[in-house]
């Protein structure tokens, strides 16, 4: 091989089927005798169910069955929460699959109708009569904590689901002696992930064998199987979850959902395959949301700009129930990241997880880390403004100096490697920052209002050592596994426990195998998403598939290589110690012309006619990789926005990203991940946000009102990188799935404030709609008068 496939931007092999519509998603499957389920969801955010009458629905044409809360009681266990954050007085409130006497958010499931067609099932929904007694609802997490607020769960006082704290250093002392203290209130609005594929489940129950197959759109089929077993009682060995094609998730397809288990319940009860697919409207109401924090944050610094401390209190809305991983997001994945790339001696955060009458929240791309980055990057800019320093200089002054193998921050985390000033400098050079500022000043004189915003970041990903998972209350492991299997023809199948769903690992993992053992990248096929064929794994989220699953694959491939070497030595009648390897060929040192290719060895291992003594047949290996630490990618982003001062409209004119995710297996895929991530972060800054009314009705319940980013509102992105390998990873890679989102909200927000600053505007709520910007300008003008 002359050119290395590792590091080259070969095309994603996933794309032809995804782009041409040839991919098969859960909803595309049809089984003989299959029936369709639709769900009746609560129209009230909070109400007592006084009576349900299903008589007419049951008699409607095509209806097979109607089930309500009392029908599933006993057959379906309550929904479990799987991240029990310790030392936080966590209260997991009862979360029934079908609400029985109380509904707690608009979208809570009240009944399930099964019919021969989805049309008939939908017709019958309208015939169910539910007598509700509406109760006062609360959506704002800060208000929900106050005494006298509506109680979401009668046994959870003041709706406090948990109170978690992180402390490092002498916070009170630091704030007392600081020259400067900056304070801000930050509202991280609720976001609605909107994966392109709605959620779906298809359950096939074999009454004869007691086996269940569940096609399910999930980021983590093995966890789905585990939790399905817990809730439905079907033993794990007789339960198969298939999620080979998943149309995006962004975190919303991590958790287990009642709807999936109701589908299973119906299939078992009726002994017929049952399919359920949510509508987009249901997706808005019933699939998890993200973010939703109200935060009071403070920064302490010296007058020459050295940051000494960070202090924060966060009211984090959990929604009506604790979704599978929800408690870990505003705590472990957020509070522990409050040092960012900076050297900060004292850090404290109090996080109150609060039940509200909103849709349950979960991870949403970045999950906790965009919010931590936002706090730091916002406060940095505010400090710079206060001290009259340039935001770049201030950041440089506070960075942790370059390190290659470990640096511990005040929150207790030990970063793996970092060169924060290096990434920022690359950004500064690329945009010619001083010229950019000069241009901005000139434009302003002409009445053009450009804003420049910076965000640097460090993220924690590659989740993570299982021992740490256990210590922080995650009710599972966080290792990954891979099997590498050579067939007689020398072709390779890779089986992984993680479940890529658009990220591109079918391509990059083949590149890893090609790099490690010299096969053609096209001779490697990666298989994932079916618990019956793939080894155990904990799933695809937290930018961990390559960082952890990729490491498992490297280790498995290296085992295969070791075995191949032994077989090659035998065939060449040489000692193993005398063997050499290059580009897929094994040979005795010094005689590369008499080599055995990996394909020769694969054939011999599979037919096993002439194997070394004591060596088993077959050429296959597996590895279970539990990482020794997290990985910590980092970078620096810059956004240029333009404000239309007449209307308040803001447009992003330029976006530059410098990311360091270690060595890049496929730079085109890295770039794609950055693009998507950046766009979602811009969405939060400018367009997206769930809006509820005072009764808890979701007003942004469709694509008509909830503004997702659109291509024509976005600039071309300039994507650059630096390379700092992770010292503990076998090939040094870190992770790139969430980096864009983590940096871009803060970068764009800072640019917005920069553009608005000539008018005296210092703070504004997200999303920064034209009306908000316009009003902020008017109010600032009025205030100055």
């Amino acid at each position: 091989m002359s050119t290395r496939v590792f590091g080259s931007g070969i095309r994603r092999r996933e794309d032809p089927r995804l782009i041409t519509g040839a991919a098969t998603y859960t909803d595309d499957y049809t089984l003989p005798d299959m029936v369709h389920m639709v769900l009746l969801r609560s129209p009230h955010a909070h109400a007592r169910i006084k009576r349900i009458d299903t008589t007419r629905a049951k008699a409607a044409p095509g209806v097979v069955a109607v089930f309500i809360g009392t029908d599933v009681e006993g057959a379906l266990n309550p929904m479990p929460c799987a991240w029990l954050v310790p030392n936080s007085n966590l209260k997991v409130a009862g979360y029934p699959c079908i609400a029985k006497d109380m509904v707690r958010y608009v979208g809570d499931i009240v009944a399930a109708v099964v019919a021969e067609s989805p049309y008939q099932a939908t017709d019958a929904l309208d015939l169910i009569v539910v007598d509700y007694e509406p109760l006062p609802a609360v959506i704002d997490p800060e208000k929900a904590k106050q005494s006298g607020a509506p109680q979401v769960h009668s046994n959870v006082e003041n709706n406090v689901a948990f109170h978690w704290t992180v402390t490092g250093g002498d916070v009170d002392g630091t704030f007392q002696k600081a020259d400067v203290v900056i304070k801000e209130r930050i509202v991280q609005q609720r976001l609605i992930p909107n994966a392109m594929e709605p959620r779906s489940a298809l359950a096939h129950w074999s009454g004869a064998s007691g086996e269940l197959t569940l096609w399910n759109t999930t980021q983590n089929p093995h966890i789905a199987r585990f939790l399905c077993s817990v809730v439905t009682g079907v033993p794990e060995d007789k339960l198969r979850v298939i999620a080979t094609e998943v149309g995006g998730g962004f975190g919303s397809k991590i958790p287990a959902y009642p709807a999936d288990f109701i589908t299973v319940f119906c299939a078992k009860k009726l002994n017929r395959p049952v399919k359920w697919t949510e509508s987009r409207r249901e997706n808005f109401q019933g699939t998890t949301h993200g973010r939703d924090h109200i935060q009071d944050v403070e920064l302490a610094a010296t007058k020459d700009g050295k940051v000494l401390g960070i202090k924060a209190t966060s009211y984090s809305g959990m929604g009506a129930y604790l979704s599978t991983a929800a408690p870990g997001i505003p705590t472990i994945l957020h509070g522990l990241m409050l040092s960012g790339p900076y050297d900060i001696a004292a850090i404290r955060e109090d996080v109150y997880g609060i039940y509200t009458n909103g849709t349950p929240v979960e991870a949403y791309r970045g999950a906790g880390r965009p919010e931590a980055t936002f706090i730091l990057e916002r406060l940095m800019d505010m400090l710079a403004a206060k001290l009259g320093m340039d935001p770049i200089d201030l950041r440089k002054k506070n960075f942790i100096p370059k390190f290659e193998n470990g640096h511990t921050v005040a929150t207790g985390l030990s970063y793996d490697s970092g060169n924060y000033a290096g990434a920022l400098q690359k950004l500064v050079d690329h945009v010619a920052y001083k010229d950019l500022r000069r241009q901005q000043a000139e434009d302003r004189k002409k009445g053009r209002y450009l804003g420049i915003g910076i965000s640097t970041y460090v993220e924690i990903c590659g989740l993570g050592p299982s021992q740490v998972a256990g210590a922080v209350g995650f009710q599972g492991g966080l290792w990954e596994s891979a099997i590498v299997r050579f067939h007689p023809t020398g072709k390779v199948n890779v089986f992984i426990g993680a479940n890529p769903h658009g990220q591109g690992e079918e391509t990059t993992f083949a590149q890893i195998v090609a790099e490690e053992i010299g096969v053609d990248v096209n001779d490697v096929k990666v298989i994932h998403g079916d618990t019956q064929t793939t080894p155990m794994g904990w799933g695809t989220y937290g930018s961990r598939t390559t960082a952890v699953g990729g490491a498992a694959l490297v280790m498995a491939t290296r085992k295969v290589k070791e075995k191949a070497k032994v077989i090659a030595a035998h065939l060449l009648e040489a000692a193993v110690e005398d063997m050499d390897y290059k580009d897929g060929k094994f040979f005795v040192k010094g005689s590369p012309d008499k080599a055995k290719t990996i394909q020769d060895i694969a054939l011999m291992a599979n037919v096993a006619w002439n194997m070394p003594a004591g060596v088993e047949a077959g050429l296959e290996a597996s590895s279970f990789y539990d990482p020794p630490n997290f990985t910590y990618p980092f970078g620096a982003h810059l956004a240029v926005v333009e404000l239309d001062p007449e209307t308040g409209q803001i447009d992003v004119r330029r976006y530059v990203a410098v990311d360091d995710c270690g060595p890049q297996i496929n730079p085109v895929i890295v770039e794609g991940q950055v693009h998507g991530g950046v766009v979602q972060g811009i969405g939060q800054a400018l367009w997206e946000g769930a809006v509820y009314d005072e009764n808890g009705q979701l007003l942004t319940g469709s694509m008509l009102d909830y503004a997702l980013p659109r291509a024509d509102r976005l600039p071309d992105m300039e994507v650059l990188s630096t390379v700092t390998p992770s010292p503990h990873h076998p090939i040094g890679v870190k992770g790139i799935g969430e980096a864009g989102t983590i940096a871009s909200t803060a970068a764009v927000y800072n640019a917005v404030i920069d553009a608005l600053s000539p008018f005296g505007v210092q703070t504004i709520r997200m999303p920064v709609t034209p009306e908000r910007a316009f009003n902020a300008i008017q109010e600032a003008k009025a205030g100055r008068r």
């Binding site: 989805p118 049309y119 939908t122 017709d123 309208d126 509508s279 987009r280 409207r281 007449e646 209307t647 308040g648 409209q649 367009w687 809006v691 007003l699 942004t700 694509m703 008509l704 009102d705 909830y706 503004a707 997702l708 659109r710 509102r713 709609t769 034209p770 009306e771 316009f774 009003n775």
Partner: protein, 288 residues
């Protein structure tokens, strides 16, 4: 999202469609389906029958004859946007159509469906009002021709009677020295107009001899901004004069201005002059 049950008929001619409408009371015409199908799927409409007029040839196409542009009701937004005749002689219509929704919506949605539906946030109603278009409708009592100004009666209500079909729209082609434009403040999610301003400017001897301005999006039905038109008439088309005239729009908006969670009534009122200014400025440029 599954529509309730309905019968489907495909009409081969306008008279057949009219006959079907009469035969099945409570039925609905189906044009591009971009408004009707969502209503069905959300179960906000439950017609007994849907009558597809999509294959009626007479309803399609753009023709220009003797200073009049005739647009068939089934002409799609994409066809309007691509028409070189419109770009030249009726620019505001082509420009507005090009900014509707997204390519899929423009390929299916029709001018007839758009105006018959009369959504206050639609773009084309205001454009037709500014262009002083005439709408031809056919029904059991024969043909009628209505002024665009009188056609739109309120939110989702038009002068169309129960069994009438809108067949064509006639617009006077721009004369020499005339230009038109459409300025739109689009909703970031739906793309519908939060504020839409259609402007037609006629110049002679370097001055504005007449201006027509219609506002949509922020009002239940499009309104003519007579207050703006009056101030601009007879003036030079300087930036200053345009801004001054645009500032008068408030007077024409009436007391029913729409607001929602994205843009309040107050905000829309505040920035309406800006959008009027932009519409007029573009129209004035095209009039030269």
């Amino acid at each position: 999202m599954y529509a309730p049950e309905f019968d489907y008929y495909r009409a081969g001619s306008v008279s057949e469609a009219a006959g079907l409408l009469r035969k099945y009371p409570g039925s609905k015409l189906l044009a591009g389906g971009q408004s009707l199908i969502p209503l069905l799927k959300l179960r906000l409409a439950a017609p007994v029958a849907v009558i597809d007029i999509g294959r009626i040839r007479d309803l399609k196409g753009i023709t220009v004859k003797g200073g009049t542009i005739r647009v068939g009701a089934m002409t799609t937004h994409a066809e309007l946007a691509a028409s070189s005749e419109l770009a030249e002689q009726c620019h505001a219509l082509a420009q507005a159509a090009a900014g509707i929704g997204d390519p899929a919506v423009r390929n299916r949605g029709t001018i007839g469906g758009n105006v018959a539906h009369a959504d206050p946030a639609s773009d084309l109603p205001a454009v037709l009002v500014a262009l002083e278009a005439k709408l031809t409708v056919e029904g059991p009592d024969g043909k009628r021709t209505l002024d665009a100004g009188g056609f739109f009666q309120g939110m989702m209500t038009t002068a169309l009677k129960e069994h009438e079909i809108l067949t064509a729209i006639e617009i006077p082609a721009h004369s020499k020295g005339q230009g038109s434009a459409y300025a739109k403040f689009a909703h970031p999610a739906s793309r519908y107009a939060v504020i839409g301003v259609a402007a037609v400017v006629t110049t002679s001897g370097g001055k504005c001899s007449a201006a027509r301005v219609a506002i949509g999006g922020m009002v239940p039905r499009p309104v003519r901004a007579a207050s703006v038109e009056r101030v601009l008439a007879g003036q030079e088309l300087s930036a200053e004069n345009i801004a001054k005239a645009a500032g008068q729009v408030t007077e024409s908006l009436g007391n029913e201005v729409l607001g929602d969670i994205f843009a309040s009534e107050q905000y829309r009122r505040s920035v309406a002059p800006v959008w009027v200014k932009r519409g007029l400025t573009q129209a004035a440029e095209r009039a030269r």
